[in-house]
């Protein structure tokens, strides 16, 4: 039963069937990076179109499709998977666990995300991508001709199911699988932010699921939820979307906050200032994230009282965010700061994100919002928080955890070129967009007229986009040429948290013996007060591991087939796809699989924590 070793597998089969959180994390990361490149390319095409007034580089329809796919891909298929990659890889290591709580579900979550992303992008080849923007407001989306928006609905539905599963998985993992001694208030901040993010996913994604379901029924099955002539209501979509959508932007920023907390404290060589305040600020941001959705809808006409309530609630979020900013500054204060690439991104994040926050408070002023609404001012604002926050966080995390994930260090020299080009390009692109917005340039429009003083700033903005594109190429080159830097990868940054107590690349079982956590920053405590190694919380014994499984791919594949059935309204395909899914789920329930044991002899042969 539970003691046979797994048969030797080919590399491809190993990755397709893996339930190892580290491999799934790497797959999330690489898939996210791919979609990031695709969405970035879409953005550059749009910026070329806007380089000069009345350009005809792209048609209006293509522009709308690029605009929609850029937003949708960046949020759902790039930023979130990249964070999920880090969470999957790092969180079990940081809490001293051998895997996540449900390895099979973890793998299913990844494949659902990937298939959802593929469904969405197949639309490019089947007669037009979705064209109603990432918000897909009805009636624009419900009346959009062609199948584009159907792809949007089904793609997001499938990948959303995967995201929801991963979120629940992280919650259970963090509640149940912490190593002995690791109380909630000893968890590293990245684990904390993963925890809060997962809560947001758990509560926010159902609203999106419902919204997409209603839109699907309206578009394909003759429903009338958003059809005013039949007694429907179009504003319901906006509410449902933003009840999901606002927590979604916190889902994107909180993991970045977690990464910055780790990076800043490591490279300032100081314990994080105000740890408990940081934890509570994270929780409060997560909570308030559900109370402010209507600030996206100030101009819908909800009335002055509703607008005022949501304006005040929105501004309240600046308080916990401010607490976090000051805590990072005070962590740096008096620290022995090392300007590595990871830390440069963290340091650049602070002013960039504060600028985005300030324009956020400006936008929250509901009276002024009537002026800003749907102009480039909004575009500038959310790119400042998403790039200046989430993307900087992703890059900081990339440089910080790369040695652990891939077993070699990225070149610091190339990394610094990448950082400076990206930083300058980012500010060039988006700083001027504040002024474009204040001058009245509407967002989501494929062109603008000559002679309105918009030319110069748009040209600068496009140049900045080229800078960012070039910077990204430097990152790719860096990844390729740094493969020889394999020395000093176990703990290259003098790390503070448990993931740096493992070897690089990490053993399949993470820790030969579950570590005993004696303080916050567990590893650093042992370095200062112990012998620099984690104390073991258990005797050395056989390690029980789960078997890999090919079933998640088939579950996800069945749902994708059913999605295509829905898109092209073919009942046989829908039923066929669902049969595949449910049959595979039944197989999963029927087949007994108790995993396998790694014997002690194999573990001592290549012991996990020794350096």
């Amino acid at each position: 039963m539970a003691n046979s070793s797994p048969a030797k597998k080919s590399v491809l089969w190993d990755w397709l069937t893996t339930v190892d959180h580290k491999k799934i994390g790497i797959m999330y990361f690489l898939a996210g990076l791919f979609f990031f490149a695709v969405a970035g390319l879409e953005a550059i095409l749009m910026r070329i179109q806007l380089m000069f007034p009345e350009m005809s580089f792209l048609g209006e329809q293509t522009y709308n499709e690029l605009l929609t796919m850029h937003g949708t891909t960046m949020l759902f298929l790039a930023a979130m998977p990249l964070f999920f990659g880090f969470m999957n890889f790092v969180v079990p290591l940081q809490i001293g666990a051998r895997d996540v709580a449900f390895p099979f579900i973890n793998s299913l979550g990844f494949w659902l995300f990937l298939f959802g992303g593929i469904i969405l992008n197949v639309s490019w080849f089947t007669g037009g991508a979705p064209d109603a923007a990432w918000t897909s407001y009805v009636p624009l989306s419900s009346d959009s001709p062609g199948h584009g928006v159907d792809y949007y609905v089904m793609g997001l539905q499938v990948s959303g199911a995967g995201t929801l599963m991963s979120g629940i998985n992280f919650l259970v993992t963090i509640v149940n699988m912490r190593a002995p001694g690791m109380s909630m208030m000893r968890m590293p901040l990245f684990t904390w932010s993963t925890f809060v993010t997962s809560m947001l996913i758990l509560f926010a994604f159902p609203a999106l699921t419902v919204g997409l379901l209603l839109l699907m029924l309206d578009r394909i099955f003759g429903g009338a939820f958003f059809d005013v002539a039949m007694g429907g209501n179009v504003v319901i979509w906006q509410h449902l979307f933003w009840i999901f959508g606002h927590p979604e932007v916190y889902i994107l920023i909180l993991p970045a906050f977690g990464i910055f907390s780790e990076v800043i404290s490591t490279f300032a060589k100081k314990r994080l200032f105000g740890y408990s305040a940081m934890v509570f600020a994270t929780l409060i941001i997560g909570f308030l994230g559900f109370m402010v959705w209507a600030h996206h809808m100030f101009t819908v006409g909800m009335g002055p009282v509703a607008n005022a309530i949501f304006a005040v609630a929105t501004m309240a979020i600046a308080v916990p965010t401010g607490i976090k900013i000051f805590n990072w500054l005070l962590t740096l204060w008096g620290g022995r700061i090392r300007f590595t690439v990871a830390n440069l991104f963290a340091l650049a994040f602070i002013p960039s994100f504060v600028m985005g926050g300030v324009t956020g408070v400006m936008l929250a002023t509901s009276a002024a919002n009537y002026q800003f609404h749907d102009t480039y001012f909004v575009v500038a604002h959310f790119h400042y928080v998403i790039i200046g926050g989430s993307v900087f966080g992703i890059f900081a995390g990339t440089f910080y955890w790369w040695p652990k994930m891939f077993g070699y260090r990225l070149s610091e020299a190339w990394g610094k070129w990448f950082f400076w080009l990206f930083l300058i390009g980012f500010h060039m692109t988006f700083f001027v967009q504040h002024f474009l917005g204040l001058m009245g340039m509407p967002r989501r429009v494929a062109s603008y007229l000559d002679g309105q003083n918009l030319n110069d700033l748009n040209f600068i903005s496009t140049m900045g986009a080229f800078f960012m594109g070039t910077a990204f190429i430097l990152l790719v080159i860096n990844v390729l040429i740094s493969r020889k830097n394999t020395e000093n990868t176990d703990d290259p940054w003098d790390g503070r948290t448990l993931e740096w107590a493992t070897t690089s690349p990490v053993q399949e079982y993470n820790f030969a013996q579950t570590p005993l956590v004696r303080d916050l920053d567990a590893l650093f405590y042992e370095k200062m007060n112990g012998d620099g190694r984690m104390k073991a919380a258990e005797p050395l014994g056989d390690i029980h591991m789960p078997n890999g499984s090919i079933l998640p791919i088939f579950i996800a594949l069945g749902l994708s087939i059913a999605s295509f059935g829905v898109i092209y309204y073919s009942w046989p395909v829908i039923i066929g796809g669902l049969v595949v899914t449910f049959f595979t789920m039944m197989l999963r329930s029927v087949i007994e699989d108790h995993g396998y044991n790694i014997p002690v002899s194999e573990i001592t042969g290549e012991k996990g924590e020794d350096k």
Binding site: A2, F203, I236, H239, F287, M302, G541
Partner: protein
């Protein structure tokens, strides 16, 4: 940690303490089950009889429903057991967020502008 085969059958008999606890638990279950049947039938009678005005009936059965949900969660789904702190926190914050959202939507989607 010893590695136990999770599929192995349990051996031996439960202790006296465990037996007492199981007995107490099954009594609670039966009592709450009877009480829930009572609540359900009260709700049914409220609607079925003509004596009770609609204006009273609707909030009344909603109240009964809320009581039943809470009992369901605590007595049947064992949210009152040990080590359920996080479950409680999550369920209640989820209910809170959902209730706030529904209440706000009821106010905001209507014809009246606030």
């Amino acid at each position: 940690m010893a590695h136990v085969d999770p599929s192995a059958p349990l051996e031996g008999r439960p202790s006296k303490e465990t037996e007492r606890k199981l007995k107490r638990e099954s009594r609670t279950q039966i009592v709450s089950f009877v009480f829930m049947i009572f609540i359900t039938s009260t709700a049914f009678l409220t609607i079925a009889s003509d004596a009770i005005p609609t204006g009273f009936a609707i909030p009344f059965i909603l109240l009964l429903a809320a009581v039943q949900v809470v009992m369901q969660l605590y007595y049947f789904m064992h949210m009152n057991g040990k080590g359920t702190g996080w479950v409680n926190a999550m369920i209640w914050s989820g209910l809170f967020v959902a209730a706030m959202t529904v209440a706000a939507l009821m106010l905001l989607i209507g014809i009246v502008k606030y």
